[in-house]
């Protein structure tokens, strides 16, 4: 082993070591700068800076326009005036100066006196306390001394105050004197400010938005922790929360950090692009005066997305199309947020956001898509198979007709053909296609389906009651047609083979009942006669009302309806099915509970009919027919579909996209595709899955927008994320509205009436607007609840508009339903449902009322007796009879209505006689009109109640008094039978 080497002093070469050190330090410096930069340069800052500049330019333009607008001559004139005024004041300079001196002097004096007074006051308070102390000692001398001290001090204080007040008064006088002298000048200056103030304000705002040194310093790194212009703008939303794993966290919305202009008005022109646009409909959303102010509701509560995000991609923006996606990727670095369960709803579905608070009861023209979707869900009967635990979809009757007595109505062969393809028979039907869908093709499957359909028919006929009806009396098809078009059938029914549901979008009122084309090939005429005479006799649960038809009318209608026939649906026979295929299906079902051996034995013990009926029962269970129809034996069976109450919160990975790869993996795309092609997810699995395992959702023949309307609802069926107190529908009024609307949709009131500006579908078959059923806007303000209660129970009792052909049907409402309607109308107008009886006015008012009634020629339109139609009066010219007013109308409404009808019902024929003035009061034209020779008689009659003509005219010029008098005349002066 070699001897140890001499220990060297150093190990490393320090030149290279220093180089290492230098380079690594430089790297550290650079990386630190990079880190700070990374932390500083957030995209939202760019948006804010850009918007600031855009706004500055906009304001600069406005300022420029304002400068142009200002009349320079006017300014020059005022400035000249100011100069002359100043010159005039200069002449009185010595006077003014003296006044100013006095003012200054008095200021001092006031100040001194004030200090004196306050000093004395504080001493006084001290003496008072000393007095309290003396009281506690109980020493009479001390008490007396203290009391004396208080009194003395109080006297001094009094003097101080007097002095102060005197000086203050003097000062005010001097000031007034000065002001008086300067008045001309001040006025001119005020004018100048009025002229130029707007411009100056604008210019100062422009200057504020400039990017000067201060701007850069305030927003420089590190400095920006103090008071930057560019900052995250956030709002905490109490009670509107993120629902995470059984805990809830208030939302903290930061959207306006980038959407800088969202809450501000005035950025809605084309040129403003997102994120610099105002939110649409600021009257409804976001603005502080709207019902949904930003500070209380934020953005993500309705729109979804990650509330706290400050980055485009992470916020969860959802592109509406592939092009938009590509553009966003390129422009904003968009990427799919795998870990965000609630991405922002695409714009076309954003109404789904309403449901969180409104539980699907928005019902205003501004939420059309969602309303349409809700109506579709109700009409298509989605809730029959899918539980949807929202008030709008619970406690609803089954959406389809009862099958408990169907054997009395039609024949099995027709039923077979109907089930096979309902839309072949009724192009607009809501009944979906269950069979011959894309996932059950092939010969064997078709044979299986034929067996299934036949067995369903067999089961239904097996269980159905059969009543035979006598043939109806002879009727005239022509008369029937007229009746059909005018009596009210067309509010709910179409009779049109060419009809296409989508053409009616979004108004489906005329599809409330079945399309009545081909009725002759479907039903038994005896049944039809009995049915339209009294629908409830056949099915007590039906929503079809009675129109109180006479036998002859009913017979005419039957004749008309039976005249629509289609040979393709007549004289049909049930097709034969392959018994083996049927038996194989029966065996499969039997084997669900039995061993293979047992099932064979059971099958052997059943005859042909029993096998059909058994298979029918199983098939009805499989397809859930009882979700929409009353089927005997299925009264209490649970619905077969997936519950949809929280479908909008279902994690995306729980949606089965099967082998379909061109549908984007989003909730909305899955649901929409499912609506349009319900069996698509079986694609490629048809042969691998067992026949019974295949998807069963039927095809409703939806159009694109129908599907989207439904999606706009289903997306909103989310887990609760709003505390109860923050939800809408919490007040009794809101609940009354919601219940009323549900009932209105259920009974299709809007088929005939215009309610909340929607409806009157019937007008397509009634051309004369005067013959349309009434617009029910303001109904709650107009009619008495007692009257409406009676009327809804039996609309036949009386008629306001005897000339109408269309009849208000008898629905056979329960009291509860009627009360729902009453509460709805009352809540709509924000009024109590009931009023007390008004007192009788004096004779003078009645006389004036009568006179004015004549002068305004009210009776020209409001018939006060039976209408003589021979005089060429068409219904369109007529208005409701006023004879019913006292029983029907609300007393407090009549004069309001006369004064301003348009404010209650847009488009009403009732003219405005009393124009509204700018101050909100109304003017009356009657004081002038009374002098016309033709009204001399009325004038004389009225004058008897007045001391002078002037007094009468004063009365007549007062719109309030006159309308009240008219009301009183209508209330007390018009009598039935007069």
């Amino acid at each position: 082993m070699a001897a140890p080497k001499k220990t060297p002093d150093r190990h490393y070469d320090f030149t290279s070591m220093n180089k290492w050190f230098a380079w690594s330090s430089l790297a550290l410096l650079l990386i630190t700068v990079w880190m700070i930069f990374e932390d500083y340069a957030k995209p939202w800052k760019r948006f804010q800076a850009e918007f600031r500049e855009l706004e500055r330019q906009e304001l600069a333009q406005e300022a420029e326009a304002e400068r142009q607008r200002i009349d320079q001559d006017e300014i020059a004139r005022i400035q000249a005036e100011i100069e002359s005024e100043e010159a005039r004041l200069d002449e009185q300079r010595s006077d003014l100066d003296e006044l100013q001196d006095r003012l200054a002097d008095l200021d001092d004096k006031v100040y001194e006196a004030d200090v004196d007074a306050r000093t004395t006051k504080s001493h006084l308070d001290t003496e008072r306390f000393s007095y309290d102390v003396a009281q506690q000692t109980g020493d009479a001398d001390k008490i007396a001394a203290a009391s004396l001290a208080v009194d003395t001090r109080r006297a001094t204080y009094q003097e101080n105050r007097i002095a102060l007040e005197a000086f203050t008064e003097q000062r005010a006088q001097v000031k007034a004197e000065i002001d008086r002298k300067m008045a001309g000048l001040s006025e001119d200056q005020a004018q100048l400010i009025a002229l130029q103030g707007g411009l100056e304000a604008l210019e100062s705002r422009v200057a504020d938005l400039g990017k000067g040194l201060d701007y850069f310093l305030l927003n420089a790194p590190v400095m920006d922790m103090l008071e930057p212009n560019l900052r995250i703008d956030q709002v905490q939303l109490t009670g509107l929360y993120q629902n995470i794993n059984f805990t809830t966290v208030d939302r903290v919305d930061r959207c306006v950090t980038c959407h800088v202009a969202a809450t501000r008005a005035g950025f809605d022109e084309e040129k403003w692009e997102e994120p610099f646009r105002s939110h649409p409909r600021l009257d409804l959303f976001v603005s502080s005066s709207s019902p949904h102010p930003y500070t209380q509701f934020g953005c993500t509560t309705c729109h979804g997305g990650l509330d706290r995000a400050t980055d485009f991609a992470r916020a969860g923006h959802s592109p509406e199309s592939e092009e938009q996606k590509a553009e966003w990727k390129h422009e904003w670095g968009w990427e799919k947020q795998k870990y965000l369960d609630t991405p922002i709803l695409p714009a076309k579905y954003s109404e789904a956001g309403c449901i969180g608070c409104h539980a699907g009861n928005v019902w205003t023209p501004s939420s059309t898509t969602q309303d349409t979707g809700r109506e579709l869900i109700m009409r298509m009967g989605c809730y029959g198979c899918h539980k949807i635990d929202y008030p709008a979809y619970t406690d609803l009757p089954r959406s389809g007709p009862s099958l408990e007595r169907v054997a009395s109505k039609t024949n099995p062969a027709w039923a077979y053909k109907w089930i096979e393809a309902p839309r072949d028979f009724h192009p607009t039907t809501w009944m979906p296609h269950f069979f011959f869908q894309e996932n059950i093709e092939g010969e064997l499957n078709e044979e299986r389906q034929r067996a299934e359909i036949r067995s369903v028919v067999a089961y239904i006929w097996d269980r159905s009651e059969e009543v035979s009806y006598p043939a109806p009396p002879r009727g005239s098809s022509d008369r029937g047609e007229t009746l059909f078009d005018t009596v009210g059938c067309t509010g709910c029914h179409l009779r049109d083979d060419e009809a296409n549901r989508d053409d009616y979008y979004p108004q489906f009122n005329r599809m409330h009942g079945p399309n009545l084309v081909r009725t002759g090939s479907k039903v038994d005429p005896g049944w039809l006669f009995a049915w339209i005479k009294d629908p409830k006799a056949y099915n007590p649960e039906t929503r079809m009302p009675s129109l109180r038809l006479t036998d002859q009318e009913a017979a005419d209608l039957v004749a008309y309806l039976m005249s629509s026939r289609d040979p393709a649906f007549e004289n049909l026979t049930l097709p034969e099915v392959d018994g083996e295929v049927r038996d194989e299906l029966v065996l499969t079902y039997l084997q669900g509970t039995q061993t293979i051996e047992q099932s064979r034995a059971t099958l052997g013990s059943m005859d042909d009919t029993a096998r059909d009926v058994y298979l029918g029962q199983q098939t009805i269970t499989k397809y859930g027919c009882f979700g929409c129809h009353n089927v005997a034996g299925f009264e209490d069976v649970k619905p077969i579909g997936v519950e949809l109450t929280e479908e909008g919160s279902k994690p995306i990975h729980q949606f089965d996209f099967g082998h379909i790869h061109d549908v984007p993996h989003t909730r909305q795309d899955w649901i929409k595709t499912k609506m349009l092609q319900p069996r698509i997810w079986d694609h490629g699995k048809e042969t691998v899955k067992d026949y019974a395992e295949l998807y069963r959702m039927p095809d409703f023949g939806m159009s694109d927008r129908e599907a989207e309307a439904i999606v706009a609802n289903v997306l909103g069926f989310t887990k609760e994320s709003v505390v109860t107190a923050r939800r809408a529908d919490q007040t009794p009024g809101a609940a009354a509205l919601a219940n009323g609307r549900k009932l209105i949709t259920r009974f299709n009131c809007q088929g005939c009436h215009l309610i909340e500006d929607i409806g009157q579908a019937i007008k397509t078959s009634i051309t004369d607007p005067g013959l349309w059923p009434p617009n029910l806007a303001a109904e709650g303000a107009r009619v008495q609840s007692d009257w409406l209660f009676e009327y809804l129970h039996d609309p036949g009792i009386e008629s306001m508009r005897p000339w109408l052909n269309v009849r208000m049907p008898t629905f056979g409402f329960q009291d509860g339903d009627v009360n729902t309607v009453l509460s709805y109308f009352a809540a709509r107008e924000g009024r109590d449902a009931f009023l007390s009886e008004p007192g009788r006015p004096d004779q003078r008012d009645l006389t004036v009322g009568q006179g004015v009634f004549a002068m305004l020629q009210c009776a020209k339109c409001h018939p006060a007796g039976p209408v003589d139609t021979s005089a060429g009066v068409s219904a369109a010219e007529l208005a409701p009879s006023l004879l019913l007013a006292r029983d029907r109308l609300r007393h407090d409404w009549v004069d309001d209505w006369i004064k301003d009808p348009l404010s209650f019902v847009t488009g009403t024929k009732m003219p405005v006689f009393f124009s509204q003035l700018d101050d909100g009061s109304y003017s009356s034209p009657l004081a002038q009109g009374i002098d016309l020779p033709m009204w001399r008689g009325e004038k004389d009659r009225m004058l008897r109640h007045f001391d002078s003509e002037a007094e009468l005219k004063e009365y007549l010029a007062d719109a309030e008094k006159v309308t009240a008098a008219m009301r009183d005349h209508i209330w007390w002066g018009l009598k039935r039978g007069s």
Partner: protein, 252 residues
């Protein structure tokens, strides 16, 4: 993403530079175009004739519902839809639909719409946005003026007394605004509300003339109550009248 970083970085760099150079002052607000000036009217004109082939005549009106009206028309009244001499069509509203630029201050002249003999007079008329319309009742019976616009606000005023009148201004251009009387359903009138003064209504001889048109190329539209609309490209030169005649035919 990198784009923003880069931009913000530049912003930062520029700001530092600005500070280093003693701070850049505010840029003066860029001078911008003032609000569109009132455009001048010109010296051209558009004239033409409205022809009407195989037309159906006007039909008689039954005024039985109101005896007052019957009294006012001893010889009976007819609808005024297709007034015009043989082969000509009156009551056609002709106006420049597009091609104009600039704005035109509203005339202060009042347009009168009279209710006379239970008819509107004139049956077809035109008015500029903001120009006052005076609506008068010259009959000794109740009329109500129910305007049924779509773009403007609806109004419905009762005029129970003879010689009552009121004034109204329209805010928005709209061709046409229909007027009706709810008491006398035969009463109809149409008023074209346009944003400029270049419109006319054809007379019974079918002729019309739009004056003071600035030179330019315009789309001119002719509107008729029952026969619909027709449009035509017209080029107007200074001090000359461009011709634009329309041919209407009854649908039957």
């Amino acid at each position: 993403m990198n784009k923003y970083r880069f931009l913000t970085f530049c912003l930062l760099a520029v700001s530092l530079l600005g500070i280093a150079c003693g701070g850049g002052g505010d840029e003066a607000a860029a001078p911008t175009a003032a609000a569109a000036p009132a455009a001048a009217t010109g010296s051209g004109a558009i004239t033409g004739v409205i022809n009407y082939a195989n037309g159906d005549p006007d039909t008689a009106i039954g005024m039985d519902a109101d005896p007052v009206c019957v009294g006012l028309h001893a010889e009976g009244a007819v609808t005024e839809q297709v007034v015009g001499d043989e082969g000509r069509l009156g009551n056609v509203f002709v106006y420049i639909k597009s091609g104009l630029s600039g704005s035109f201050p509203a005339s202060a002249d009042k347009v009168v719409l009279d209710q006379q003999g239970c008819m509107y007079n004139p049956h077809v008329s035109g008015v500029q946005v903001g120009q006052p319309v005076v609506i008068r009742n010259s009959d000794p019976t109740l009329h109500n003026v129910h305007a049924l616009p779509t773009a403007n606000a609806e109004f419905n005023k009762g005029q129970p007394f003879q010689n009552m009148e009121f004034e109204h201004k329209f805010d928005t251009a709209e061709v046409m605004v229909r007027f009706k009387c709810d008491v006398h359903p035969w009463m109809n009138s149409y008023m074209g509300v346009v944003s400029h003064p270049f419109f006319a209504v054809s007379g019974t001889d079918g002729s019309y003339s739009i004056e003071n048109v600035p030179a330019g190329t315009y789309t001119v539209e002719a509107w008729h109550e029952t026969l619909g609309t027709q449009t035509m490209e017209v080029t107007v030169a200074d001090d000359a009248a461009a011709a634009a005649s329309f041919d209407f035919a009854s649908a039957g």
